[in-house]
């Protein structure tokens, strides 16, 4: 037992010494905040982890790597700003930010290569990165998300919201979304799963689009790609009228409908109605294959 305690103390001492030697510093601060206030966070490199809490305060804990000057935390008229400041000259280092905010706050995070994670935030979220990955929990409020090359993972709880997600090359994975979705990518893959969708607009240039979910009565579904595949498995409360068009891709479906030709022009189309036809589905590609199924 005595030896174990000694070993634990030695380990802690060694870890502290290593942290000091590497130049890492810690920063902690709490400021009072409004329950429905605004929180802005910016960090270039490292990570940003945000969690919602019931406490009316913003709590910041940060590990600052070498090359990070400081962390500024300010509050003004319900807006709390947390900013990792880098020196004017030379390259900055990593900063790992762990921030607790009132759960109903309106959250904005801007990062370059820092990874961003949010959980338990029920207010509006605006998350932007250049190359950092984003993992966010959807809390029933709107989400605006942009990333250039970062990958995106979103997990909802089936609460309807307006979700607007775009990447250049990053992949997007959405689980248990609901409401209105607008997703776009150039070369990333969109994997979208919605429990109940009112409207879906998905667009890609060369990336594949996979959708699985249920469409609400009268929902609109619109997916286009130039060379990416569209794979849609959508059931609907009251069915939908579908129109699939492709210039040189193949069309397949799980309900044995036969694609037609575009008259004398090249291309294929598939049109028809499933169920009562209350919703509308449009799928369009140039060379990407299209698969449509009315079952999840």
């Amino acid at each position: 037992m005595g030896f174990s305690r000694l070993a634990a103390a030695m380990t802690a001492l060694f870890a502290s010494a290593a942290a000091c030697a590497s130049g890492d510093r810690t920063f902690e601060r709490q400021v009072p905040a409004q329950a429905h206030g605004v929180v802005d966070i910016s960090n270039v490199s490292g990570k940003v982890v945000v969690s919602g809490s019931d406490r009316p305060e913003v709590s910041v804990r940060a590990e600052l790597g070498e090359g990070v000057e400081r962390v500024d935390v300010s509050t003004d008229h319900g807006r709390t700003t947390i900013k990792v400041v880098l020196p004017h000259s030379g390259h900055g280092g990593d900063a790992d930010l762990h921030v607790k905010i009132p759960k109903d706050s309106e959250l904005t995070v801007s990062a370059v290569s820092a990874d961003v994670t949010t959980a338990g935030v029920t207010g509006v979220q605006r998350l932007n990165t250049v190359s950092g990955d984003i993992a966010a929990e959807l809390g029933g409020s709107d989400l605006e998300l942009k990333s250039v090359s970062g990958n995106v993972k979103l997990k909802g709880h089936g609460q309807p919201a307006r979700l607007h997600v775009s990447t250049v090359s990053g992949d997007v994975h959405l689980e248990h979304g609901a409401g209105d979705l607008e997703a776009g990518t150039v070369s990333g893959t969109l994997v979208l799963s919605l429990d109940s969708a009112r409207s879906v607009r998905a667009r890609s240039t060369s990336g594949d689009v996979h959708f699985e979910g249920k469409l609400a009565r009268g929902a609109d579904f619109d997916a286009t790609s130039v060379s990416g595949e569209l794979n849609v498995r959508a059931s609907a409360e009251a069915g939908y009228a579908y129109e699939v068009s492709t210039f040189s891709g193949d069309i397949s479906n799980c309900f044995n409908a036969t694609p037609g030709e575009h008259g004398h022009m090249p291309g294929h189309t598939l049109q028809g109605t499933r169920g009562d036809g209350a919703g509308h589905m449009h799928l369009k590609t140039m060379s990407g294959d299209v698969q449509l199924c009315d079952r999840k």
Binding site: S149, S166, V168, G184, V186, M286
Partner: protein, 196 residues
């Protein structure tokens, strides 16, 4: 009901609401016919009617439009887009040069808007600096995406060359142009201190 109308006046929402028994106050056709005949008499009768020009086949019209568009496109490419420097190129400038390649016919149709031309030229000008500022893995991915968009545009334009009236291809091409502007704008906004 408008505020100036009397109580008896009401708006007619459909032709079906009009009574079929209402006759026009007078028949205007005899006067119109008389005027047409008078004009015919006053025109020189001896002149033979010129042979009606045969309409050009649509494929010739399309070909002429493509040639004209390409000419304008080349002019825009030379005067607006930054030219690639001769000699050895970095990967970034090579990608930039690829993006700035001579546009084809449909480019021109889309870029005829002046504001679009101006904004795109400005974004292309700063693209190299922005790409250089990105972290290396991100830069490689963004360049691959820009190349994918360039390929998509070329494929769409090539397909449209075979089928110029194809609405699906036109829509996808316009989408691709819009996506390119979105990407260029996002890359432009990816300031090292701000994110996007």
């Amino acid at each position: 009901m408008s505020g100036t109308g009397s109580a008896d006046e009401r708006r007619v929402g459909s032709l079906r609401e009009l009574s079929p028994a209402v006759e026009p106050p007078r028949d205007l056709w005899p006067q119109i016919e008389a005027r047409i005949n008078a004009e015919r008499r006053s025109a020189p009768a001896a002149q033979p009617r010129p042979a009606r020009a045969r309409p050009l086949p649509p494929r010739w019209l399309a070909a002429a439009a493509v040639v004209a568009s390409v000419a304008v496109g080349v002019w825009i490419g030379r005067s607006l887009l930054p030219a690639a420097r001769p000699g050895v190129q970095s990967p970034i400038s090579a990608a930039r040069a690829t993006l700035a390649g001579a546009p084809t016919a449909l480019d021109v149709a889309y870029v005829s808007d002046r504001r679009y031309q101006r904004d795109r030229a400005a974004l292309m000008k700063s693209l190299q600096a922005r790409l250089a500022a990105l972290p290396q893995p991100a830069r490689a991915k963004v360049m691959a995406s820009l190349a994918a968009m360039q390929r998509a545009k070329q494929d769409l334009e090539s397909a449209l060359g075979k089928d110029p009236g194809n609405a699906l291809l036109q829509e996808l091409l316009v989408n691709t142009y819009q996506d390119e502007m979105r990407v260029l704008t996002d890359v432009q906004a990816s300031d090292a201190g701000r994110g996007i």
